[in-house]
């Protein structure tokens, strides 16, 4: 594997996004609008402070999943992925290239959501800002991999959209975003353990509400890393020569 080809793929993806001005605008504007509506819907600041870490995690997962899922699927449907796979490029080089290309926009989006939540919605936090951002970045990497994974199993955009209620909505309800996982029945508690958002919400809450560090939440980070790696490995790129 050479980083050179992955960088060529990443550069090409970045160029494509930058040329699509409407998409670029929506990458910035849509999360702000959604966070504003969600923020205003909470009557008391105290409740928003408690829910904000979970919301940050959920929004990062949601927006990045959509971004990568649809973009990668478009590569397949317009035939460019097949063309790329006929080239002397390995599966690993393609995946790393896509990750590097998408992560820039995912990181920008994550940063916008974070800064807006803290400085405009005035959510209080205890931990350090850069550690919150790094944790959020890790969530975006998981979302990237989840988006790529799902899009390799979908044949069109409609199918990717239908993966949202299947893959994302259960996570919103079972990850501890709305109520503590411990209050759910045992089966749902077990189910929540195989969902990346559970560890995202747990880790981000500990950093933002309890002032813990990235080192303190290493278990959450490790589980998220395992999720990211396994999603990449399970992604069903058209197989064969790679």
């Amino acid at each position: 594997m050479t980083l050179n080809r992955s960088l060529a793929i990443a550069t090409r993806i970045i160029r494509q996004f930058l040329r699509d001005r409407r998409t670029m605008g929506m990458i910035v504007f849509v999360p702000l609008l959604v966070m504003t509506l969600v923020g205003l819907s909470f009557p008391e600041d105290g409740i928003l402070d408690y829910v904000a870490p979970a919301l940050l995690a959920a929004m990062a997962l949601f927006f990045v999943f959509i971004l990568t899922g649809v973009s990668f699927l478009r590569e397949r449907s317009q035939g460019t992925l097949e063309r790329l796979m006929a080239a002397p490029v390995s599966r690993a080089e393609i995946m790393v290239g896509y990750l590097l290309g998408f992560i820039l926009f995912a990181a920008v989006q994550a940063l916008i959501i974070l800064l807006y939540t803290i400085f405009v919605l005035k959510v209080h936090y205890a931990g350090s800002l850069w550690q919150i951002f790094v944790f959020q970045l890790i969530i975006t990497v998981v979302a990237l991999n989840l988006g790529l994974f799902v899009s390799t199993y979908a044949r069109n955009e409609l199918q990717v959209i239908q993966f949202i209620p299947l893959v994302l909505v259960p996570q919103f309800f079972l990850s501890g975003l709305l109520w503590p996982v411990e209050q759910m029945n045992r089966f749902l508690q077990h189910l929540s353990k195989v969902m990346p958002l559970t560890y995202s919400v747990d880790g981000l809450r500990k950093i933002m509400l309890e002032g813990k560090t990235l080192g303190d939440v290493w278990v959450d980070l490790a589980v998220l890393a395992v999720f990211a790696v396994s999603m990449t490995m399970l992604a069903r790129l058209p197989q064969f020569h790679i």
């Binding site: 090409r12 494509q16 035939g79 080239a87 490029v89 058209p238 064969f240 020569h241």
Partner: protein, 252 residues
């Protein structure tokens, strides 16, 4: 090089099915080096499947294939160029950026050389004036030309083209065949799939395909000669072999 004397592509009794649908049924063919080789047949004959096997996108379920003297296409991917049926380009990017990207992933990592070859290629397909235009602003024929440039910029020894002239106007079709002849004159081997006899007439050798099998293989003149009617058109020749194959199947 030991492999130079061998055929560019040697397929032996290849079988491939998509689920229960048989696409290739013991297909064998031999593509000589430096020739233009046409895979001709109706839709569903197995042309795209054998093309995808040659470029390494599909793995034969039965039989074997040698590409440029190697048992499996992957190791030879750098020496191959592939133009898929869809133009398969990045619409937001310019003509230059598309050709440059594929040249890069095909191993032209040295920037100066890449710039030279990409420029040469874009001139060759007659799009120099439009090199900075995004592909989405180009007509269908122009996109086909960009797609061809993407397949040849890295100077492959084997060029595999899946229905490259579909949707082209007659003038552009002539221009494409002029490029193809220039390429074979330079020693490049061409494998071209087509369902039109117009394309078939330009090829050095042909394989007529039907139901995943080669029903006849030879130069256009040899194939016409084999019908026993020297004045037969290629279309009539194709139909002759199809009927003969159908008759043989009935006898069996």
């Amino acid at each position: 090089m030991a492999g130079e004397a061998q055929a560019a592509v040697e397929a032996t009794r290849i079988g491939f099915s998509y689920g229960k649908t048989v696409a290739l049924d013991g297909l064998s063919l031999s593509v000589p080096r430096g020739a233009s080789f046409g895979l001709v047949g109706p839709n569903g004959a197995g042309k795209s499947t054998i093309i995808r096997i040659i470029v390494g996108l599909l793995k034969p379920q039965h039989g074997g294939i040698q590409v440029l003297g190697n048992p499996y296409p992957h190791s030879m991917a750098r020496d191959m160029g592939y133009m898929p049926q869809l133009s398969a380009l990045y619409a937001e990017l310019s003509v230059w950026e598309n050709v440059d990207f594929f040249a890069h992933v095909y191993g032209l990592t040295e920037r100066r050389r890449r710039v030279l070859l990409v420029g040469e290629c874009i001139r060759l397909v007659g799009l120099w004036e439009r090199r900075n235009d995004p592909v989405l602003k180009l007509s269908g024929g122009m996109r086909q030309r960009v797609s061809l440039a993407c397949a040849i910029a890295h100077q492959p020894r084997l060029l595999v083209l899946d229905e490259p002239t579909v949707g082209l106007d007659p003038e552009l079709r002539v221009a494409f065949w002029r490029h193809f002849r220039e390429l074979t004159a330079g020693g490049v081997t061409l494998v071209i799939s087509s369902h039109t006899m117009d394309d078939a007439a330009h090829c050095d050798r042909l394989a007529f395909l039907r139901d995943g099998k080669v029903v006849a293989e030879g130069s256009p003149a040899e194939l016409v000669g084999a019908t026993g009617s020297p004045g037969a058109t290629l279309e009539e020749t194709f139909l002759y072999f199809l009927r003969r194959e159908a008759g043989a199947s009935d006898v069996k």
